[in-house]
């Protein structure tokens, strides 16, 4: 744990980390652990339940304490460290080196020390709070040695669980730090653009591509505007983070092998290496029976969706094999990926189904390489791909399950950035989301389209303005999704510990009888 904590003592990610941790702490334990914590109210004298509440309370208490402590810490440190800084500055002023360098060095030292201090303080607080609970437990047990042992067990359990959760968070935080180099195909419109923007605002270096050079230039300009706005609004560490972000672009038709090779070379030249490659380019050409698709339509759909993805995947694998760091390739799922029939979009559906097969085969081929092949499923997104040729009935259905590209990108991007291993599926429409959509279907009737199928949602520019303000706000569903694994882990380990305690207590009592 100590080693892990050391890892993330990066000056740049300090305050960002703090907020993340606050966020995580605030949200993570609530769904799972709170259930145990509630037992605190009925703090009865009964043995078994007493221990469980002890344990749950322990974890919960710890969280709250740490939470509070973070706030206190921030205040205190500013006073203390500024004084230290001034002392240091005064002492070194007489030296021969320039003022600027000193200031920088001092700032760095300050950051490192303060983060170490925060960790130590956090530990002290945690231990104190658990010690406090422990002492209450001892008082309630009334000196019964058996009970004391059980309290120790539960204390130990609490510590272990807390460490596990903490370590997971710190690791994730560590993963999250640092800019990624991202290539997104077909990223001048719709979801691709939203993804590019989201990566950019997470401080990554992004390459946008599309068939037409003009739209690539336009998109670059627009995204740079967004980045400037982001920098203007950013403070502290997020500013340093954003200062590394950049966006470049090149025209590329994904079904032309030469174009794809040029894109790969361009990416290597501009970014050095590619961490994430997203095969987002896809096309559909409307909803109608196969008979009404022209030759050109079919050709374009097949070559963009299937040939394009295959060629891009191959190029991405090629460059990722030659680089030091692991790379990740994402292929976009679509209707038909699951294997269910897609009448009226037969061509699109069968190409997407083919991609799923490609994914399975590549998983086997890339088993022992650094390259991770993943799928990302955006669900249904309000883009041209979906809306072109959709009927009024379709649109009524879209009200329920569709989302704006920005919303989807905001959920997908953080997960894409921290993806590990290979063969992961990053889905927007997860079962809880679908359930939520179905339950609130009635409320969602006029969400995007009215009865006549006219769009009710704002244009992209307006949307972005509102969305920039909204960005800072914390999304509960996102956090829940993000930490849901940890929560289940903690609940599981908690129950294991409880079972262990109960077993050990019965083990103690059996010889007596």
């Amino acid at each position: 744990m100590a080693a892990v904590v050391k890892l993330h003592v990066f000056p740049e990610s300090l305050s960002q980390h703090k907020t993340r941790l606050l966020r995580g702490l605030g949200s993570c334990p609530s769904p799972g652990v709170l259930g145990f914590g509630r037992n605190c109210d009925g703090f009865s004298v009964k043995e078994c339940r007493a221990f469980r509440t002890e344990d749950g309370g322990d974890v919960k208490e710890k969280k709250f304490r740490t939470l509070k402590k973070n706030g206190v810490k921030a205040e205190r440190q500013s006073g203390f460290w500024s004084s230290l800084k001034s002392i240091l500055l005064r002492n070194f002023m007489v030296g021969s080196k320039s003022d600027d360098e000193y200031r920088q060095a001092v700032v760095r030292v300050e950051e490192v020390l303060s983060s170490i201090a925060i960790q130590i303080g956090r530990y002290i607080v945690t231990m104190m709070s658990t010690g406090f609970i422990l002492s209450i437990g001892f008082q309630m047990s009334g000196g019964d040695s058996q009970m004391d042992a059980l309290i120790w067990y539960s204390w130990l359990g609490g510590i272990i669980i807390g460490t596990m959760i903490g370590a997971n968070m710190v690791l994730e935080e560590h993963c999250r730090a640092g800019p990624r180099n991202v290539v997104i195909t077909g990223s001048t419109r719709g979801l691709g653009k939203a993804l590019a923007r989201e990566f950019l605002l997470s401080g990554d270096r992004v390459i946008v591509t599309s068939r037409s050079p003009e739209s690539v230039q336009e998109t670059i300009k627009e995204l740079e505007e967004n980045l400037k706005e982001g920098i203007a609004n950013a403070v502290g560490s997020s500013l340093t983070k954003l200062s590394q972000a950049k966006v470049v672009g090149i025209a590329c038709d994904v079904c032309e092998p030469h174009d794809v090779r040029r894109l790969a070379n361009f990416a290597v030249k501009e970014l050095g290496q590619v961490d994430i490659w997203i095969n987002n380019a896809g096309t559909n050409k409307g909803f109608r029976p196969l008979l009404q698709f022209s030759d050109e339509d079919i050709k374009q759909i097949v070559s963009t969706n299937l040939i394009g993805s295959i060629l891009c995947t191959r190029e991405a694998m090629r460059i990722m094999r030659n680089q030091a760091k692991a790379g990740h390739i994402f292929n976009m799922d679509g209707a038909g990926s699951g294997g269910s029939s897609t009448p009226l979009t037969a061509v699109y559906g069968s190409t997407k189904c083919g991609l799923r097969q490609l994914q399975g085969s590549l998983l086997k081929e890339c088993k022992r390489s650094k390259v991770g092949v993943h799928t990302a499923s955006p669900g249904m997104v309000l883009t041209d791909l979906l809306l072109s040729g959709s009927t009024v009935q379709n649109r009524q259905m879209f009200n329920i399950i569709c989302e704006l590209p920005e919303t989807v990108a905001r959920t997908l991007v953080p997960r894409m950035r921290v993806v590990k291993g290979t063969g992961k599926a990053i889905n927007y429409l997860t079962p809880p989301r679908i359930l939520l959509a179905l339950v609130t279907a009635w409320l969602r009737r006029g969400r995007w389209f009215d009865d006549q199928g006219r769009a009710l949602y704002a244009a992209e520019a307006d949307r972005l303005r509102n969305w920039a303000e909204d960005r800072a706000r914390f999304s509960f569903t996102d956090a829940m999704e993000m930490y849901t694994e940890n929560t289940w882990l903690s609940v599981f380990s908690l129950s294991v510990v409880c079972a262990f305690i109960i077993l050990s207590s019965t083990g103690n009592t059996l010889p007596g009888t």
Partner: protein
């Protein structure tokens, strides 16, 4: 203890005669129900074998299909006006039919007395094949034209050629498929190979399907389209030929979507089917034998094209003959067959070194 048991038995013996009675009747009843169950289980198979239709891949649909047919085949035929049986000889069109399984199928159809249109990319190969088939099957039953399925114009020309020579097509088999005869990881695959595989297997097939449906909808007899699947269509990963697997998976999906689409449009006289030849010892397969695993499976599971065609053609012909308008998935290499062959190989060493020497 023994006494206790005896007394227990005695006390029960009064009722015993009565109580014992139900047993045989019960068991006989259960026997009967079992036999009736087995009969109902058996029936669909007999029907299926008589119709030479192995329906769909799920047992559920085997049941429902078999049941409705075994009870009232005539009723069904009367219910839908289009379901009157087509009379042979059939007019058959097979794409990519100058070699491999396409050629074997063409030959088998000719043997059954049908008219066949063969085609492939190379004009020269088509001519030689038509020549040799004409020699073999004396009469004028076979026609041929060059057609690159990737080219929509070619496919349209093929349709007009078929219309000109035969007036209508009953059975259209989309057999043209390619793997560029290369088995390597995707990273090493060349641009041309990848593009060829996808355009032939997916794009070509889509265009052929569209043209075939377009042609058959206007025919009074309707028609049946068969799409040939391949490795990967069941969703099992296909490393070393990832692109091929992806295209074949998309073929099966396309068939499914087209079936749904035709149903939606209320088209009753055109049916799209899947056709699974299993592993056939054609160039396409044999070019990939360079691993031990591949050799093993080819020896155990693969069959020569003639054997496969001999099985498939009667099955295909039985569909229009019955007037059945249900989508089917005809499989040569069923799961059961595959497993039993693997088992007999592992248990008795059967089929070792059948086609290729395993070291």
């Amino acid at each position: 203890m023994f006494n206790c048991f005896l007394s227990h038995f005695a006390s029960k013996s009064m009722a015993g005669s009565a109580a014992l009675f139900p047993y045989p009747t019960l068991s006989s009843h259960s026997h009967r129900s079992l036999s009736s169950a087995s009969a109902s289980l058996f029936k669909p198979y007999t029907v299926a074998s008589r119709h030479h239709v192995s329906v769909a891949n799920s047992t559920l649909s085997v049941f429902s299909f078999g049941f409705t047919h075994s009870t009232s085949p005539t009723f069904l035929a009367m219910a839908s006006p289009n379901a009157h049986p087509m009379l042979p000889p059939y007019n058959v069109l097979i794409t990519g039919s100058t070699k491999g399984i396409g050629y074997a199928l063409a030959k088998e159809f000719l043997k059954s007395g049908d008219n066949v249109v063969v085609c492939s990319r190379s004009d020269e190969r088509v001519r030689t094949v038509v020549q040799s088939l004409k020699v073999e099957f004396r009469e004028q039953h076979v026609w041929g034209t060059a057609c690159d399925v990737r080219n929509a114009e070619d496919v349209k020309n093929l349709v007009s050629f078929a219309r000109e020579k035969l007036k209508y097509i009953d059975i259209w088999i989309n057999n043209a498929g390619s793997n560029a005869y290369s088995y390597k990881p995707l990273v090493e695959a060349s641009d041309e190979d990848l593009v060829e595989v996808v355009t032939t297997n997916t794009l070509g097939l889509m265009i052929c399907c569209r043209e075939a449906i377009k042609m058959m909808v206007s025919q009074p007899r309707g028609g049946h389209i068969f799409n040939i699947d391949g490795a990967g269509s069941d969703g099992r990963p296909t490393p070393r030929f990832a692109a091929y697997g992806a295209t074949k998976r998309s073929v099966v999906h396309l068939t499914k979507s087209l079936q749904a689409e035709l149903q939606m449009q209320d088209v009753k006289n055109v049916v799209v089917h899947n056709l699974s030849p299993g592993m056939v010892t054609t160039d396409l397969l044999m070019s990939g034998v360079n691993t031990k695993q591949a050799k093993f499976f080819i020896n155990v599971l693969a069959e020569p094209a003639e054997v496969v065609a001999e099985y498939l053609v009667p099955n295909i012909r039985s569909i229009p003959a019955n007037g059945s308008m249900k989508p089917t998935y005809i499989k040569f290499l069923t799961g059961l067959k595959a497993y039993s062959q693997i088992f007999s190989r592992l248990a008795f060493g059967a089929r070792r070194n059948r086609y290729i020497l395993e070291d």
